[in-house]
């Protein structure tokens, strides 16, 4: 790679609109990458949500125990 990279950028894409057009395969290429990264982000969001709801639930349980002890 090295010094050849910049020549290859010019070789690959003439402009940003050229880049987004993906040589006419935009639907297929961006349809793949969009769904992959969208669902991976969703998985992480759901995991954060799941941890939060467990902690809230445990917290409610704990305060219920404290009330019953008192």
């Amino acid at each position: 790679m090295g010094g050849g990279i910049y020549e290859q950028i010019e070789m690959n894409w003439a402009s940003w609109s050229d880049f987004f057009a993906m040589g006419g395969y935009a639907l297929y290429v961006w349809g793949s990458y969009g769904v992959v990264f969208g669902l991976l982000a969703l998985e992480i969001a759901l995991l954060i949500q799941r941890k939060r709801s467990i902690l809230q639930q445990l917290d409610r349980m704990r305060s219920a125990v404290h009330r019953s002890v008192r």
């Binding site: 690959n12 990458y33 992480i44 445990l58």
Partner: protein
């Protein structure tokens, strides 16, 4: 207090190996904070590898002479497909360890890996379908490679459904382990399907015949994306195993102490 229940007391093996310094992490209580510390590192590594891999895939690797730009799906399709198989093997490994040594954390690791593995299986099928349409002219074909990958998705679903159907977590782990270990037979079938049968799916991507420089940048981009998905999978499954640990150990003393430290 009612914190300690028989379900949450350590098994004999855990008490025994608790003395060895490394093996102490095989107890959910010890692994929980370790996993929490590891997650950010794997998450950052995943982002860095993904940024590098995408840069190589879109800006360094040149256009394919036969498939044009459609081939760029390879940088996500092949890594996702590899992960779908690899995660299954790791899942079955932990399920087998749990079945053999009766360690609780192993079963939890297996359960934590299944949804991420199923996700990558779906993504491999999805990106493959979007690659198949412009190159083969069809979204789907019932050939050996695609069909065995679809069976893999059903194996993940079966594993998760079976575990969800059994109330006792230890029994759910055992039943899931038997299913996971039986399903391992499908992995070599997927992998070698392109050699064993006449499939529409192309052979192994790593040996794609092209100009040498192109093969090198393509291979580099693909391998960096594989690393990104590895790091992602580790981060996601560690996050999930922490949830599973908290859910299963909710009545234990250490979770109570952890909760009071959060306040």
């Amino acid at each position: 207090m009612v914190y300690v229940t028989p379900e949450n007391t350590a098994t004999g093996q855990e008490r025994f190996i608790g003395h060895a310094s490394w093996f102490k992490y095989s107890s959910p209580q010890m692994f929980f904070p370790l996993a929490g510390k590891l997650v950010p590192w794997f998450a950052v590594a995943a982002l860095l590898f993904a940024a590098t891999g995408l840069y190589i895939g879109f800006f360094v690797a040149p256009t394919d002479s036969q498939q044009g730009e459609a081939y760029r799906i390879i940088f996500i399709h092949v890594p996702a497909a590899w992960m779908s198989m690899f995660i299954y093997v790791v899942m079955a490994f932990w399920a087998g360890v749990g079945l053999t040594f009766n360690t609780r954390l192993s079963g939890m690791m297996a359960s934590a890996l299944a949804p991420t593995g199923a996700l990558f299986t779906f993504l491999a099928l999805w990106s493959g379908s979007l690659w198949g349409k412009p190159t083969w002219g069809t979204w789907w074909v019932w050939d050996a490679r695609l069909t065995s990958e679809l069976i893999l998705l059903f194996l993940y679903f079966g594993f998760m459904a079976l575990q969800a159907a059994i109330d006792d977590p230890r029994r759910a782990d055992k039943a899931g382990a038997v299913l996971a270990l039986t399903g391992v037979i499908n992995i070599p079938i997927i992998y070698f399907s392109v050699q064993w049968w006449n499939t529409l799916h192309q052979g192994a991507s790593v040996s794609l015949k092209s100009a040498p420089t192109m093969a090198a940048t393509m291979l580099t981009g693909m391998l960096v994306m594989v690393l990104a998905l590895w790091m992602y999978s580790i981060a996601a499954s560690l996050m999930r195993v922490r949830c599973i640990i908290l859910e299963r150990e909710r009545d234990s003393q250490w979770v109570a102490e952890y909760m009071s430290r959060l306040k």
